[in-house]
């Protein structure tokens, strides 16, 4: 049996809609991945515990509200606290260019802006999985 790539898609923070997250969820599914969709207003704690229970290979988060510099690093911190070092963490949404180096320093492997073609995200995931 073939191993499936499992991706947890979550919206941390207080954003009011999740259209963008749903678009990426569908694109990943159409590429053959299994997407666990957790929806709006997720805390970093919920995201990390869910990712562990779901044995996700990837956590993909999106934020529009501007709280990314706080919430994205909180997720990677919690993962590290729990000894999880093999999950690829991606960020998306409305993220100013200037914040990207900071986020990468905090363990967010890539940051995808609103205009990113879904294909780029898919290729990035396939090329950068931390487990085989």
């Amino acid at each position: 049996m073939e191993k499936k790539i499992r991706v947890l898609v979550a919206k941390p923070g207080l954003d009011g809609h999740d259209r963008g997250a749903k678009v990426i969820a569908r694109a990943l599914r159409d590429d053959g991945m299994e997407v666990i969709y957790t929806g709006l207003r997720q805390t970093p704690e919920q995201i990390v515990d869910a990712a562990i229970q779901e044995d996700a290979d990837v956590i993909a988060m999106s934020i529009l509200s501007g709280a990314h510099n706080h919430l994205f690093p909180r997720v990677t911190e919690l993962l590290a606290d729990k000894g999880v070092d093999d999950v690829l963490v991606l960020g998306g949404g409305v993220i100013p260019e200037d914040d990207i180096p900071f986020l990468k320093g905090k363990g967010i492997a890539a940051v995808f802006g609103p205009g990113t073609p879904t294909k780029a995200t898919i290729e990035f995931i396939r090329a950068n999985l931390k487990r085989s």
């Binding site: 299994e34 997407v35 969709y37 779901e54």
Partner: protein, 359 residues
Amino acid sequence: MEADSRAARVVAGEVRALARLITGLENGESQANLVMRILAARPRRAQVIGITGPPGSGKSTLTDKMIAALRKRGARVGILAVDPSSPFTGGAILGDRLRMQDHATDPGVFIRSLASRGHLGGISRATHSAARALDAAGYDFVIIETVGVGQSEVDVVRVADTVVLVAVPGLGDDIQVIKAGIMEIGDVFVVNKADRDGADRVVREIRSMLETAAALRRGSLPVRAAVDTLGGRIAPLSADQEHAAWAAARAVAAEADARLMPPVLKTNAGTGEGVEALVEAVAAHRRAAQASGSLEARRLEGARTELRSLVEERLDAALNEGEGGQRAIALAKAVAAGEVDAWTASTELIGLLIQGGKA
């Protein structure tokens, strides 16, 4: 041995070890099967509850509220939530968990989404063994939410001790009451979305179906005839048809029917109304099934089916891969060329598969 330490970590309640094991079972990893060999030797303790019903009937929301009710009683709860895989891409969007995320950080709750991966019975191939893994990890209750079902997805009855069948008002006459084939697997019936119009009517329709079914089980010829005249159609019925079916069923269903009748409850999963009663009804069913021996019989039947499908799957795999696969092709050519008959060729293949331990 690695399998021993992995099994020990699962039993000790290590969430990551459990999550990894379930992935291994989904992917058919041999190492995961070795871990299950160790875990299967442990006594079964968990009560396994299946939640099934049409798409969107509120199964996940109901599960969320059942988790809360069971947690209040101090029980640990594991959930396996199955959603369909796309037949085209093999991918899936697993959205059941969305409704249960309030419990994500509760250490007494473990929620795992499973894709059906081409399996058609409403659950996935790995669901049996994943449920057993949750049991070994110390969860007192295992709740299995099936794919939103139509009429033939009844595999959950092979895994669950108690099956909760969820119906709703307002889906249109044909689907709001569940199809006859699937009615048979319900141990407890729920009409969810009781805040909507028509819930009482759905309760009545389910009761009448159950009464008819109970009467049929007694071999009541008049009722069988009545149902036959309805052409197997359950809803919608004209007033006359309904009246005739009810009258016939009542005539033969004796007072004892009330006792044999599965409960039909109303819930509002949005508010949690009715969920306490549901949890009680599930517990009562399990107690009765244990006392009557039907729990044991059902588990035996479940094991039988599981075993059968495993044998089929492994033989099938062995016939399509490696040495067995090559020999199968060679023999097929020989059969086509008339050099050997199919029966003899199949005997050779079976021998080869068993000997090689490939299957």
